[in-house]
């Protein structure tokens, strides 16, 4: 066990960043500079932990003893390492993108936006590195509260309603169900430390395990397991960078990450499988996966479609956990990274389209691909990665999930995974096809400046396009360099 200042650093860097951003609010260029520097320093701090964790080390740090026996305590293990890397790395790309998007759309209250963003990232780091369930819960709640101002950023009645749904479901489930589950675990096990192999084995049995699992799974509202998924589409009212980083990466991944942590380190996969209580969770995950894909098919609003796609893809992670096998856990954990890279690309594209053309509905996007080839090209790559086709990163997570399903002999789950990939094709690719192959509608009244010259390229601002190009490239890279990822995750699944 090695104490590591880098852990505390990665908590305090975004916090300090938030303070500096609010101080430099009067000078937008300085402010954005601070954001970028903060994001980069944070990523370096997180990355500096990688070699230790790869070598089997578990860096740790204790902040303060909050309650007797329950300190605010951090310990970096592979799963958290992966999550922190993904979130902090994508924050850099997202910060660049935010500059282009927020300025391109003349959004108000930009300082508050960047401050809350930094605070949300600090909370995310706390979740990723949490060494016990108490610490995780503390930062989980902090993440909900710091993202609330981002969801209601526009301040319209619609944003207010969305904020209510967001806060109501996330805070309600976490206090009403998750806290109860945590207290119960504390009561039964006498500890909340994340321990390899779980802390409940031998201390709980029978239906208690099932009830506890139910409380956890629905208490973690951020995992958006149906029917508690409503907050995610509601949160799409936020500016697109928020949807991209928080509601495709940080917040939702914090949810499924917590699911993974609970299954692997609180229950323990062997214990969960032997108890047989993972069965119903598997079916709920599978149902969420299919239903959300079907709903996505019906959505014409691009961000809404992507939101339902996210719900469906999150269910993959939960399914991986519910399979309670080594391959399932590896597949589910990889899905956290792969889906993050793919989905943030798609959201970046949606935002870029909006910034350039003000279009939000898919049916309006006919022919846009020819005006915005880079954006739509990136959208294609992101889509293929989400669908799970090689040579893109998403292929690996789907592959390991299939292996996990095969390992347990759940033929039905394999079938559902295949069906779901087909559904992904059905709701993602038409967007691209419409953009590239359908002719652009002719404007009714042809004015001098109404119709752009055919074939002319009219992309979003450069700062919007570069990040989505980078993340699309990232999807490709994740396919070829999945091996380090696998080696990182191996110890948690195959002890």
């Amino acid at each position: 066990m090695t104490p590591a200042p880098a852990i505390l650093l990665s908590l305090f860097v975004p916090l300090a960043g938030a303070v500096l951003i609010s101080l430099s609010g009067r000078w937008p260029n300085v402010r954005e500079g601070v954001t970028l520097v903060t994001a980069t320093v944070l990523f370096l701090a997180v990355a500096s932990l990688v070699p230790t964790v790869m070598a089997g080390g578990r860096p740790e740090a204790t902040l303060i003893e909050m309650l007797p026996g329950l300190p605010i305590y951090f310990e970096v293990e592979p799963l958290g390492m992966l999550f922190a890397l993904v979130a902090s790395g994508l924050w850099i790309a997202n910060s660049i993108y935010s500059i282009g998007y927020m300025r391109g759309n003349n959004e108000a209250n930009q300082t508050r936006f960047y401050v809350c963003f930094a605070l949300a990232l600090a909370s995310t780091m706390g979740i990723a590195f949490a060494g016990n369930m108490m610490t995780l819960f503390v930062f989980y709640e902090a993440l909900t509260l710091t993202t609330y101002p981002l969801v209601t950023h526009k301040g319209t009645p619609e944003a207010m309603r969305a904020g209510r749904t967001y806060l109501g479901i996330l805070l309600g489930t976490s206090i009403g169900l998750q806290l109860l589950a945590i207290l119960w675990t504390w009561q039964i096990a006498g500890t909340l430390d994340f321990t390899a192999g779980g802390i409940l084995s031998g201390k709980a049995s029978g239906p208690i395990v099932g009830v506890l699992l139910l409380l956890y799974m629905y208490g973690i509202g951020k995992a958006a397991l149906m029917p508690l998924h409503r907050w995610l589409p509601a949160a799409m009212v936020a500016p697109t960078p928020v949807s991209a980083l928080l509601h495709a990466v940080a917040v939702v991944k914090a949810g499924v990450f917590t699911v993974m942590k609970v299954v692997v380190y609180i229950f323990g996969i062997d214990f969960l499988r032997d108890s047989g209580q993972n069965q119903w969770l598997m079916y709920i995950a599978a149902a969420t996966l299919l239903i959300a894909s079907l709903v996505a098919l019906t959505k014409d609003n691009l961000k809404a479609r992507l939101a339902y796609s996210t719900i469906s893809q999150l269910a993959y992670v939960v399914l991986g956990a519910a399979l309670a096998t080594s391959w399932g856990v590896i597949g589910g954990s990889m899905q956290i990274a792969m889906h993050a890279m793919g989905k943030i690309t798609l959201f970046f594209c949606a935002g870029a389209i909006y910034t350039a053309t003000r279009k939000t509905e898919i049916s309006d996007m006919a022919g846009l691909g020819r005006a915005m080839p880079f954006t739509f090209g990136a959208f294609l790559i992101g889509s293929l990665s989400i669908i799970g086709l090689p040579p893109l990163g998403g292929a690996w997570s789907k592959w390991y999930l299939m292996l996990g399903a095969a390992e347990t002999g759940e033929i039905l789950m394999i079938a559902i995974l295949m069906l779901s990939s087909l559904l992904n094709v059905a709701y993602l690719l038409p967007v691209v096809a419409r953009g590239f192959f359908l002719p652009a509608p002719q404007p009714a009244s042809v004015g001098a400046a109404a119709a752009p010259a055919r074939g002319g390229i009219e992309e979003a601002p450069l700062l919007c396009v570069v990040p989505l190009f980078l993340t699309a490239f990232g999807c490709l890279m994740l396919f070829f360099f999945a091996d380090p990822l696998y080696r990182l995750l191996e110890p948690i699944a195959l002890p």
Binding site: I64, L67, L167, L179, L183
Partner: protein, 493 residues
Amino acid sequence: MIAAHLPVLQIVVPLIAAPLCLLLRRGALAWGLALLASWAALAMSVLLLSQVLSDGPVSYALGDWAAPWGIEYRVDSINAFVLLIVSAVGAVILPYARRSVAHEIPAEQHSAFYTAFLLCLTGLLGVAITGDAFNLFVFLEISSLSSYVLIALGRDRRALTAAFQYLVMGTIGATFIVIGIGLLYMVTGTLNMADLAQRLPPLGQNRTVVVAFAFLTIGASLKLALFPLHYWLPNAYTYAPSAVTGFLAATATKVAVYILLRFFFTIFGPEFAIETLTLQHLLVPLAVIAILVCSTVAIFQDNIKRMLAYSSLAQIGYIVLGIGMASPTGLTAGIVHLFNHAMTKGGLFLALGCIFLRVGSVRLESMQGLGRTMPWTMFAFVLGGLSLIGVPLTVGFISKWYLVQAALEQDSWLLAALVLAGSLLAIIYVWRVVEVAYLRPPPAGAAAVREAPLSMLIPTWVLIGASIYFGVDTSLTVGVANKAAVMLLGGAP
């Protein structure tokens, strides 16, 4: 030398300062004296608590008359804690009071206000410190009478009816308490609490004792506003001057809870109160009803002061629930929530006082856009609200943690779920305010609103800061509460 007389000085200093305030006549001078007295009281209570924590209970014979004849002041971990709560809130609110009182109360009444305030402080401290049952009643009356005056000073004319309502209910409560004490004196021939505690158990289920117990329970419940005896509280809190509401909300009901604890556990003893009379079957349901009903009522209030008053009733429900569970964990939860709720609700009422100063109203619709115009005040309000909800890193979370744990220890799933359901209701009533303050623009044509003055902001933030700090570092609060709980349940002090 002077350390030996701390217990009596704790009372004498504010008691002497009170009439002096009246003599000074000038409001500013009276305020200065009251401020000094309250800070001295705080210093003494801190010293007393540290003395109790290191050396065990302190006993002080008033005028050197030995216990059965004279009055004994006896300080152990539970009342040292209550003394600290009361004096700390008093010391924080007085600096705040200057601007707030100048705004809300006519100048010629200022010295009277500070006199009444100090008398109220004296009374509350006296109730907490005394080891003599009748003396407790005397101090209770001092604090009650002065609080009727304080409430009646409110600018709204309805303050008069509110004070009168409280006067009637409070007097009934005090009378019940004195009847209970009289009955106890009848059967035991003593008024000293320690003697009472020794002489009562041999009497067993003597009918007089049971009746005395009933009178004391109802009397104390009236004073602490336990549902359904809470009728007086919302009006009193709503129409009292802002500083008074903050002070009373944070201290008066807490001291009444202390009376309940003292009688139940020290004088009658847990065996009698819990095992023989099964008091928990009365307290727990009432507490749960208080939590759910009053939180729900709070949701529908448009006057935010009244909303917080109903929230207080619900929070009192949490405290009583902890007491009713009568386990070390439950009692710890109840006692720690005395402190936690005092900090949070005190801070919230002070924030409202700031808003009242600048906006002239505490109705929901008048708070539009305040997130922008009074950022510090509103942010303090949000943090206090989060503590009411019980979000981690606030004191509210600590209380709920222990409360739910106590419920789980007794396998009462329902209780655990209901406590958490109370939190969910709190989300709704807190967020109504947040939405209006942050997401609605200031009403068109309204006068520009400035941030509250520092002399009011700092006290507000001290209390709110305390409700964050003690939510992170709980060693002092939970440590003392746990010690007190074990002592009350008959373990080593």
